[in-house]
Symmetry: C2
Subunit: 385 residues, 2 copies
Amino acid sequence: MTAAANQSGRRPTTSRRLERAGIRDVAAAAGVSITTVSDALNGKGRLPDETRSRVREVAERLGYRPSAAARTLRTGRSGLIGLTVTTYGEEPFTFTEFAYFAEMARAATSAALGRGYALVVLPASSRHDVWGNIALDGTVVIDPPDQDPLVSELYRSGVPVVSDGKPGNCPVTAWVDNDHEAAVLGILDHLSEAGARRIGLLTGTSTDTYTRLSTEAYLGWCAKVGQEPVYETYPAHDPAAGAVAADRLLARPDRPDAVYGLFDPNGTDLLAAARRYGLRVPDDLLLVCCSESDVYATTEPPITTLSLKPRKIGTTVVNLLIDAIEGVDSGTGVDIARLFPPRFRTAGTGPPPGTLMPTELIVRASSQRRSPRTTVSPPRPPGEV
Amino acid sequence: MTAAANQSGRRPTTSRRLERAGIRDVAAAAGVSITTVSDALNGKGRLPDETRSRVREVAERLGYRPSAAARTLRTGRSGLIGLTVTTYGEEPFTFTEFAYFAEMARAATSAALGRGYALVVLPASSRHDVWGNIALDGTVVIDPPDQDPLVSELYRSGVPVVSDGKPGNCPVTAWVDNDHEAAVLGILDHLSEAGARRIGLLTGTSTDTYTRLSTEAYLGWCAKVGQEPVYETYPAHDPAAGAVAADRLLARPDRPDAVYGLFDPNGTDLLAAARRYGLRVPDDLLLVCCSESDVYATTEPPITTLSLKPRKIGTTVVNLLIDAIEGVDSGTGVDIARLFPPRFRTAGTGPPPGTLMPTELIVRASSQRRSPRTTVSPPRPPGEV
DNA sequence: CACTCATGGAGAAACGTATCTCCAAAGGCT
DNA sequence: AGCCTTTGGAGATACGTTTCTCCATGAGTG
């Protein structure tokens, strides 16, 4: 009692009942020390159940909520995970990556919450004030550019960083990516089997890993099978440029009879361009694009898409990050090596450890010359495009 | 100098250079007190520019980053704003609200970052552990149910809460919503002008404000113009139920010649049902649905949609919240009354203050008997951006 | 009885910052 | 010369936890 009175009586003010109850108030009301309160509430220390429940009851009665700020300061853990979003101009995320990001973020959020962490959305530009003001236990970055100063700075300051997308040249704790090469090769084979003789590619001008790996895989495949590459590039972040590039691709003298578009809107872009040139899909032109949108299930015709499985990626990224956070906590994050079965992990000894996730090709009418099942869907009265 | 040595020498350990530099290290290195460091870095106090820049330089050299946790504890401000997402089962957000939420969250994120705050995504279930572990300056809630215990608890503990969607019965600092009644009436008038004689409604079974207000507006309109209401309801969160309900609606003996669907997927649902019954859109059936998806710009035919302008809502909600956070800081949030011009605000004296935002009807082919303009849109010469 | 040991719990030291209070020194004024 | 004011900066405290250390007390054991 003396203890309780002593510690809680520290407050010089007299009648302030406006403030939220603190641990000292609970201790005073329960007639114990703050140590006991803390231990009782957190299930630590050696206390008889009677004391524990009594303290809990008092805390409940006073509406006591531990200060997250104080806990974070003391324990060094905030339970917060940063999620970077690239920003072009005012708006976060670009049109192209929106669906992917949304799905990925949704899964990441779910995974984080399931393990007691919350995601905080942060801009990819390191210069932003807000970065310094938030205590992060770790960060997820999406497709960091080569030599990303943000990632480097985070890593240097000891914050675990897990990247969605194989990082170019910055040190990360771990990364997760799709096997883009395998995916592209799979698509090209799929199109070949469907009868394509000359496969074109709609790709981007930027140098991120996804674009680069995919394009290289395409070029490599072309070299292997002896097809002349037929591709057009455009700045992927420009929502209007895709349509123009699609048009260019189909306007070429060596017009392809099948096209794979690397970005989400390319399906629509290519479909529109095909219409413009009087090409029937899939009869005259086979089409595949990379997209997470289920829009392509209901286009006319439905378009075959490659899904990067953003939900799996998001889940994996977050789990890897939390493992790193809870596993090591000492600047050098090497422990992860044994946390995960090396099934998917690349066999390199050199860090950072990477995980490759499979993609999924959702085959629809646009990439098959003969309709996969009965074409009954369109009784489709005269109203045609 | 003595001061500096004194304060930094407090650390008993000898050679630990592994830890991040703290304010004391900077003070020691610069030969000043931590007060001076703090003041110099935060632009406070009275210091000559020379001292300021010297301290800044030393801090930079040591790679000093103020501890966000300590700052939060001291100042009582975390710079964090919670954003609740409703969860059904494992995944956050439902199919129905996904597009709306994504757009709204995107705008909210942008607005928050612009004012130095970050958004942290949190589950709408108050029982989740994570709520207690995070220091929030305020919270945005989306469509809270009546008597939401989470909102009540937050409000009671002094955290400002701004709601997207007029709250049923819980106390909030402020709320923002669309004028759903005006929106529905506008749509019904629009359909009438297009020649509709009997307008049907596809609505939900839940009792949230959006569904309730919209349905009531429809019923009121029917009563006013003397039309017998024709509507079907279904659980909006079930992605499959919408198609069934759409089918039911068009299978009725008193089949409507125009339909408004309250939820995002209803456009597709209704279009498919119309095809099934051999109804041409817009000739036999006029169609409007509420959606944020631009899919409906490219359906056949394109479908008229009502946009709730989630970006505007998101921006407004966040700005209101931050105003409340920075304005009052004392439990009772009444200051907001004068922070915003009362243009849109409801004139009631009773709290909480609400803001009504306009909606936008994007008129497309599905709700017009005669094509609005020449349908020529695609000459579309390649050289366009 | 003299011990060891387990039990229950109190004290106090951080965690790292922001800020309030206060003091010394250096002008500026009559 | 004495007083007031401004400038520059140091000291100390509080923010609210968690946790390490340590001390009573009582029970078991020889």
